[in-house]
Amino acid sequence: MSVRQEISSNVRNMKQMEYFILCRRTNQIKEELRQGVRKSYREVIDVSWGDPHRAGVKPLSFVRQVLAACLYPQLMDGDKLMVDVKERAQRLLRTCAGGSVGSYSDIAGIPQIVQSVSEYIVRRDGGAPCHPKNIYITPGSQWALTNILKVLVNSEASPRTGVLIPVPCHSTTIISLTALGAVAVPYYLREERSWALEVEELQRALDSAKGVCNPVALYIINPGNPAGYVQSRKCMQEVIRFAAEKKLFLLADEVYQDCVYGKESEFVSYKRVLAEIGAPLSDTVELASFHTASKGLMGECGLRAGYVELVNLDPAVMKYIHKLFSTNTCPVLGQIALDVMVNPPQPGDPSYPLYLKETQHIRASLAENVRRVEEVINSIPSFSCQSLEGGAFAFPRVFLQPKAIERAKEAGLQPDTFYCMRLLEEAGVLFSPGTEYGQKEGTYHIRFCIMTPTDTMEEILKRLSTFHKQFMKEFS
């Protein structure tokens, strides 16, 4: 069947994540537990993804009530739902063709929801203008990112197209780049300085690409994933100037913009900083900014809804982006979640008290988790965790002993994958290894989602501490 095994080298080159090995084992362990196999834990805690609901965070009632009412409008006849829920659902259903969430929406999304998103962006960015025509609602922000990359990456060019990416970097983006045949040009974030982005490092990365590829874009993740940094305005200004000078298209992955908790941190969008810099840069630097309903307080990953705002693009290119984006539209339920995200209940609305209570609870839990993670992790010998400012993850560094590294090699695993595997086996906690995201050679990290209920986080930290002690003893 050799004919059938011929696969495009771009596809073949896509990295098979070691994380999948961990996933497979997780499923086996879950099955073993179901069959009554005795372990030191009763259930596996999976915090390997930025998936708050999986980690135990409850969905926001208002979002789910509006969805239920849109799905099954008969619910609006009774008194089960608040008036503002019904009003919202009725308003949204009127925007759907045939008054049903089961019909297709326009290519860029339901126009009224696109409008709401653009108004939200204007509010967020202190009045910087945002035109609805520049917004595309898509089945997840990752889909939007992949497709903007597709436009940028010239599949026929030689040398190949390069994209500057941070290290560490969200792994899906790396895989997407490989699939498109692009060259990922790494720039390293400075761990010791809370994962700071330094312009000299960008310059070094750009220089390293000379003769290898043709870099056209700079990919930024802010707030960070996997590392939990939030960039300062000053840093962003430097990045924008760099992009302008070097003629790079800016890709700003800002999906964690609602997850900022560092005492001195504030989320500012690249769009806003660009607008504040003023002309000529504000009229010229090309920017795509991504956001989603999957993250933040809402955490509706499963609905697959995100959007991209495109700034300063050539109108001729926009035409092709429109065509490309017309081949896939965003599920309507996800669009509804986005509408609620950009227009949550306001003081005075009947649903507001519950909404406030739920969101405050999530925020408070997160703040408490951040405090506890920093405290506990930094108290464990051979662990170090930079201060957490934003995003949904902790990405502490773990110092592994030579014997453990040796053993990992024997097992054919990266040392941090090996560590995660043992943690899974012995403590029933699933993290993902730093090797998936890129890291300085000889350093090892683990990533885990910190958007969990507080008692879950306590349990995770307890299991981790106990496991780590044994692990260190075993390989000392």
Binding site: Y104, G302, P315
Partner: protein
């Protein structure tokens, strides 16, 4: 699998470039280093890359391209202009070839017209009728209560204590939620899809195919059917020049295929359906297309759309067997697009009744490729590779907005399957509510009304001189052939439009009816068509058909 070409710049290169800071630039930046060694990096030591005229960042269009939409500008006082990084000349050329007719210029104009109407502008019609797309619920079809109850319960599980919801809906919702992470539809699922849903889909397929076994591991839950089709094509396409992968698609075809093939720079191999014989598929035509293509590419896959879209035919069992033998003989991967299939076999009965006096009547029974494949014995059932596609959007379910779908793969090499799973992982997972809907796929309903509408459409359109309409055997579209007067063709050419685009645009402006021109699907040269959905409620459909009829007569008169 041979040595991989790691896409990261080699850390070794980096160290060479800036020795002073070597501590920073070490592996682990994502490149797999299983096996210790550094697999063939593309680095400075790679063979020199040709072409000095780097098309990459050529600033070919400076200020002239900056006739930017005023809206995209953030402020107006920009004096200096900077050439765009991304221009029409340096963007990915394959994207430029992407065309998607069902959502093309006609639809854009329809959106504008709707807006103008809502702003009170006077038009010769009161509303725009979107007959271009098979969107059942936009056309007024009511969603099936049970589906919506289950989904509402899954969205807001507090409703599980509501006594007005039936028990079966509740238990189904619980089953689905129990297999979601954190018992929430808001959690990511595995990228292949929720396990219990895949099991239910597999059981549904077994029932559909009279007991032919189906392994849930071979089911992938997808974002609509397009996600599956595009991913499968991505997996198949490789090679350069004369070895570039060719994919056979029917003409007329659904434009998703041509768009995806253009995007992948694959070679599109057209085989024509026979309009005179109710859009049937002839093996001799497949052979002709394949033989011609072999001269300049490497044909690897054959796509079949059954029931047809836009053409609405249903393939006979005999024809499917022939196609399978052909694929086996020519070593082609079969892609069976069965999106238009309606799970309830009973609804086919009225279709047959409608056409009982018709020579095509016996062709109306739907047979899945998989079932036929397995009934042809191990020689075929154990070798022919097949992917079949389905979605929640079409037919009786009509839930387009959920973007649910599935793909089943048969006889795929295990290594290749790993690659497929990897490709799907990039989009994380398909929308979970759409997956939940797939779980409900086996619930049936009768759609005899659709058969009636099919008959009505055929009857009315065939009374118009210059329109010829084949019987609609399945699916939800008719694709009539229209005669366009020579003068209209000349007029269209002057405007740089396809004649049927010109025709449909005029129809939209004059009647508010939005159709898709046949040129978007492909058609034999010199023939013209449009695609129209037959989904509107019967009384509305009658008016619609009448308006089409009157328009056509007017148009013909005007240009003759």
């Amino acid at each position: 699998m041979s040595a991989t070409r790691v896409q990261f710049i080699s850390p070794r290169t980096l160290r060479l470039l800036s020795p002073g800071r070597s501590a920073l630039f070490l592996p682990g930046c994502g490149g797999p280093h299983r096996g210790g060694g550094v697999p063939g990096f593309r680095s400075l030591t790679s063979p020199p890359l040709s072409s000095s005229s780097s098309p990459g960042r050529a600033l070919s269009s400076l200020s002239t391209t900056r006739r930017a939409l005023p809206k995209t500008k953030m402020s107006d006082n920009g004096t200096m202009s900077r050439g765009k990084v991304l221009t029409i000349d340096n963007m990915n050329p394959t994207v430029k070839k992407v065309e998607y007719a069902v959502r093309g210029p006609i639809v854009q104009r329809a959106v504008e017209l709707e807006k103008e109407l809502s702003e009170g502008m006077k038009k010769p019609f009161a509303e725009v009728i979107r007959a271009n797309i098979g969107d059942a619920q936009a056309m007024g079809q009511q969603p099936i209560t049970f589906f919506r109850q289950v989904l509402a319960l899954c969205s807001y599980p507090d409703l599980l204590s509501d006594s007005t919801f039936p028990e079966d809906a509740k238990s189904r919702a619980c089953r689905i939620l129990n297999s979601c992470g954190g018992n929430s539809m808001g959690a990511y699922s595995a990228s292949q899809g929720i396990g219990s849903v895949r099991q239910d889909v597999a059981r549904f397929i077994e029932r559909r195919d009279g007991g032919v076994p189906c392994n849930p591991d071979n089911i992938y839950l997808t974002t609509g059917a397009s996600d599956g089709i595009v991913t499968m094509l991505k997996l198949l396409v490789c090679g350069e020049g004369a070895t570039r992968t060719g994919v056979m698609i029917s003409i007329p075809q659904y434009p998703l295929y041509s768009a995806a093939l253009a995007d992948l720079s694959a070679v599109q191999i057209n085989y024509y359906l026979n309009e005179e014989k109710c859009w049937s598929l002839d093996i001799s035509e497949l052979q002709r297309a394949l033989d011609e293509a072999r001269l300049h590419c490497n044909p690897r896959a054959l796509c079949i759309i059954n029931p047809g879209n836009p053409t609405g035919q249903v393939q006979s069992r005999e024809c499917i067997e022939d196609v399978i033998r052909f694929a086996a003989k020519e070593r082609l991967f079969l892609m069976a697009d069965e999106i238009m299939f309606t799970p309830n076999i009973r609804h086919c009965v009225p279709y047959s009744q409608v056409y009982q006096d018709n020579v095509y009547a016996e062709g109306c029974q739907f047979h899945s490729f998989k079932k036929v494949l397995f009934e042809m014995g191990p020689e075929y059932s154990e070798t022919v590779e097949l992917a079949s596609f389905h979605s929640t959007s079409k037919c009786y379910m009509g839930e387009c907005g959920f973007r649910g779908g599935y793909m089943e793969i048969i006889n795929m090499d295990d290594d290749v399957k790993d690659q497929l799973t990897k490709l799907f992982s990039v989009r994380l997972c398909s929308p979970v509510p759409g997956q939940a809907l797939m779980d409900l796929v086996e619930r049936t309903t009768t759609l005899s009304a659709l058969a009636e509408k099919a008959k009505l459409t055929e009857q009315v359109l065939n009374t118009v001189e210059g329109i010829r309409c084949n019987p609609v055997q399945g699916a939800m579209y008719s694709f009539p052939c229209i005669t366009i007067p020579e003068r209209a063709i000349q007029e269209a050419k002057k405007l740089g439009q396809q004649p049927d685009m010109f025709y449909c645009m005029k129809m939209l402006e004059e009647t508010g009816i939005c159709l898709v021109p046949g040129s978007g699907f492909g058609q034999r040269e010199g023939t013209y068509h449009f695609r129209m959905t037959i989904l509107p409620p019967k009384d509305k459909l009658k008016i619609l058909l009448n308006n089409v009829k009157e328009f056509h007569q007017r148009f013909t008169q005007q240009y003759s």
